[in-house]
């Protein structure tokens, strides 16, 4: 059923197309005097050319840290302690700031959550767009002005040439986000990371910005990582979705199957707590409790304390990423001891604990982490870019 419904792009994971961006086992830890916070704790995902990957999760689940880790914008006391971020096969983790600068803007661009504060207040909008053009396109003077005006027009800002001379405070929130999008597009990137780009905007402006992003994506064949906590926005814009919880991706699937048939108890809870999805319920469903702060590497399922379906093993086994049913195509992956559904509970517990037998039957790219106490875990037959 899910195959019939999935968008054609969503199946690219099966094709031979190389991913544009492949994140593997990425770990980002913040070291403070009191504790270490494992904000991103071993996540894997790929982004293919032209598709939109939605990353969804509650506040504090590590979405923004993921985005900044890709861009190399993690500030001290945060550090990427493991894993890789491969852009067109090139590992960005461990590159120097000067090397990363060549990728930022020109290959991977990013737009941020708060358009009100993301433009420098003392320079004109035109100046800031032209700064990007001068950096990566080697344009200057009137050429750069023409190009900047064209960019502003392409994000539907009327009277673009005059608007270049405006200061950010003369723009409304929606217009500032458009200007920031224009700036991100200035260097013709292949991947655009949108970190909650519509959260700070009112609902009508949100819809306009989403339409604009979709239009731009179509025109430029842009790949996007779209980060949000808003399930409605994800449903509208994403081709595939990764659900994050406490620094881990707990479910990955094309957007239709995820919304039609969510597998992870957390994803179910999230979807049930959208107002209006369940019109017959007397009260809106909520998930009790809060997202825990990860102060160490995961050794159990982090959702177990809040999970309505928790098993005995949830408190001691870290679930691996497994297909919903053993033998599936690997498009719908979930990190939960309840899966693969077609196996017995005992088998599942053993399999998650040893993390060996699950992935040999299918083409699932790799199992999720949790092998810090298993040095022998080297068996990833389908690994393409392992070093």
């Amino acid at each position: 059923m899910s195959d019939a419904m999935a968008a054609p792009r969503a199946k690219r994971a099966d094709d031979d197309i190389e991913p544009l961006l492949a994140v593997e086992e990425l770990r980002t830890v913040f070291y403070t005097d009191k504790e270490e916070i494992h904000a991103v704790d071993g996540i894997d995902f790929e982004v293919y050319p032209g598709e939109t990957l939605g990353i969804v999760g509650e506040s504090g689940s590590g979405k923004s840290v993921t985005a900044r880790s890709i861009m190399g914008l993690i500030k001290s006391p945060g550090h990427i302690v493991g894993g890789s971020v491969r852009y067109r096969g090139e590992n960005l983790v461990g590159k120097s700031d000067a090397e990363l600068r060549a990728y930022r803007g020109s290959d991977i661009a990013m737009i941020f959550q708060d358009p009100m504060t993301s433009l420098n207040p003392v320079y004109t909008v035109g100046n800031q767009i032209k700064e990007a053009l001068e950096l990566h396109q080697d344009l200057s003077g009137s050429e750069a002005t023409d190009e900047a005006a064209e960019l502003l027009e392409s994000v539907n800002i009327p009277d673009a040439r005059r608007r270049l001379k405006s200061y950010p405070h003369e723009f409304s929130g929606g217009m500032r986000q458009r200007a920031l999008i224009a700036m991100a597009l200035a260097c013709d990137p292949d991947l655009l990371i949108c970190d909650e780009p519509t959260t700070a905007l009112d609902v009508t402006t949100q819809a306009q910005i989403l339409d604009l992003l979709e239009e731009i994506q179509r025109e430029r064949d842009l790949a996007m990582i779209f980060i949000t906590h808003d399930m409605g926005v994800i449903a509208e814009i994403a081709d595939r979705v990764a659900v994050m919880y406490a620094g881990e991706i707990i479910e990955r699937a094309p957007v239709e199957p995820l919304f039609a048939d969510p597998k992870h108890p957390y994803t179910r809870g999230l979807l049930e707590s959208i107002p209006g999805r369940n019109p017959h319920a007397a009260r809106l469903h909520t998930i009790e409790g809060n997202v825990p702060t990860a102060t160490g590497p995961a050794r159990s399922c982090r959702f177990a304390p809040r999970c309505p379906k928790a098993l005995g093993g949830c408190e001691r086994i870290r679930p691996a990423a497994v297909p919903v049913n053993e033998g599936d195509d690997g498009n719908h992956v979930v990190s939960c001891l309840l899966y693969p559904e077609n196996r017995s509970e005992e088998w599942r517990l053993d399999a998650h604990e040893s993390q060996e037998t699950i992935d040999d039957a299918n083409n699932e790219p790799r199992t999720d982490g949790g092998h810090e106490n298993e040095p022998a875990d080297g068996d990833k037959p389908t690994e393409v870019t392992d070093e």
Binding site: F112, N120, H169
Partner: protein, 342 residues
């Protein structure tokens, strides 16, 4: 452009401030306890002295109705008809007196602001760019200590150090360094345009300017550090980084200009303090400047001189305020945005 309109509005608004300030000055000196006639002729305890006292009052115009005196006082000041000194140097025009004393204070004030700005802001920015390093702790701690030392104490200590520099700086002779100069005394501007004259006067003003600028330098270090830290963690700096802008350009283009905005009022408000603080430093270093003149005029009851100096101070304060607004409109395009509101 509303930036020019904003500036014009600020200048217009300064006029009532000047009028209010001078009116207050008039009230304080005329209704206050100072009796200028008594200051000139002494206390009227004999009949002849009494007559002379009355005559002096008549001459000074103190017998006229108060409102007439007020009108005369205000029009004279506004037309820069500053009158003559009564007590300090009777008959001398206050205008001439001010012209004699002012350059010394201006020279001192100029260097105390410039030295503080040139040392304080770079140190503060450096500390802000390298937060929580050893250099940052040293600069921040030093800034606080420097800020906390009282002017009069620091003035005496520096005076002692510079006057006996051979003893404290391993034989380095400050007085004989480059050009022969004394550490104290009023400045001599007769040959300021020559290299030797300039160096000599700079050497003479340096210790005093260091003292007078010490408080503002401490403030500039601390506020410069905070402003840089705040700017560097702002979203637009992250946007610029995500755009691929180099670290150097981020600091010079995106951080510095924004970090200067909170420093503008710090620098200009120090200019106000200099007027008051200059008296102490001028006394210690023996500089006969405006602060010293004002102090002498007040304790001697020389009312026209006091009023004229007050008027000059008010004009300087209002002028510095307008200068501050000019700096704001240059640095920050958001200034002058609120249309219509006065």
């Amino acid at each position: 452009m509303s930036r020019l309109g904003y500036l014009l509005r600020r200048i217009l608004l300064a006029i009532p401030v000047v009028i209010f300030g001078t009116s207050l000055t008039f009230l304080i000196i005329r209704l206050g306890p100072i009796d200028p006639a008594a200051a000139i002729v002494g206390s009227p305890d004999t009949p002849s002295a009494q007559a002379q006292y009355e005559e002096t009052r008549e001459q000074l115009g103190l017998t006229q109705p108060l409102w007439e005196q007020y009108i005369e006082f205000m029009t004279d000041l506004l037309l820069f008809n500053l009158g003559q000194s009564w007590v300090l140097s009777p008959g001398a025009g206050t205008y001439d007196l001010i012209l004699t004393y002012a350059p010394r204070t201006l020279w001192l004030g100029f260097w105390s602001i410039l030295i503080a700005v040139c040392l304080g802001i770079p140190l503060g920015f450096y500390a802000g760019l390298n937060p929580n390093t050893r250099a940052d702790y040293l600069v921040s701690f030093g800034g606080i200590v420097w800020r906390a030392m009282p002017n009069f104490w620091l003035a005496i200590i520096l005076l002692a150090l510079f006057a006996q520099s051979q003893q404290y700086f391993f034989g380095f002779n400050w007085s004989g360094f480059l050009v022969e100069s004394e550490v104290t005394g009023a400045y001599d501007f007769s040959d300021i345009t020559t290299w030797d004259g300039f160096v000599r006067e700079f050497k003479r003003v340096f210790p005093a300017a260091l003292v007078l600028g010490s408080a503002s330098m401490g403030n500039e270090v601390r506020i410069g550090r905070t402003a840089v830290l705040e700017t560097i963690n702002s979203n637009y700096v992250e946007t610029a980084k995500a755009k691929g802008v180099s670290a150097k350009k981020i600091v010079w283009k995106h951080v510095f200009r924004n970090a200067l905005i909170p420093l503008v009022p710090v620098i200009t408000s120090e200019a106000f303090l200099l007027i008051g603080g200059a008296v102490l430093v001028e006394v210690v270093f023996g500089i006969n400047g405006l602060g010293y003149l004002f102090f002498q005029a007040v304790i001697n009851g020389d009312l026209p001189l006091v009023a004229s100096l007050m008027y000059v101070f008010i004009l300087v304060l209002v002028g510095v305020n307008i200068l501050q607004d000019v700096l704001y409109t240059i640095i920050d395009p958001r200034v002058g945005l609120e249309e219509g509101g006065a």
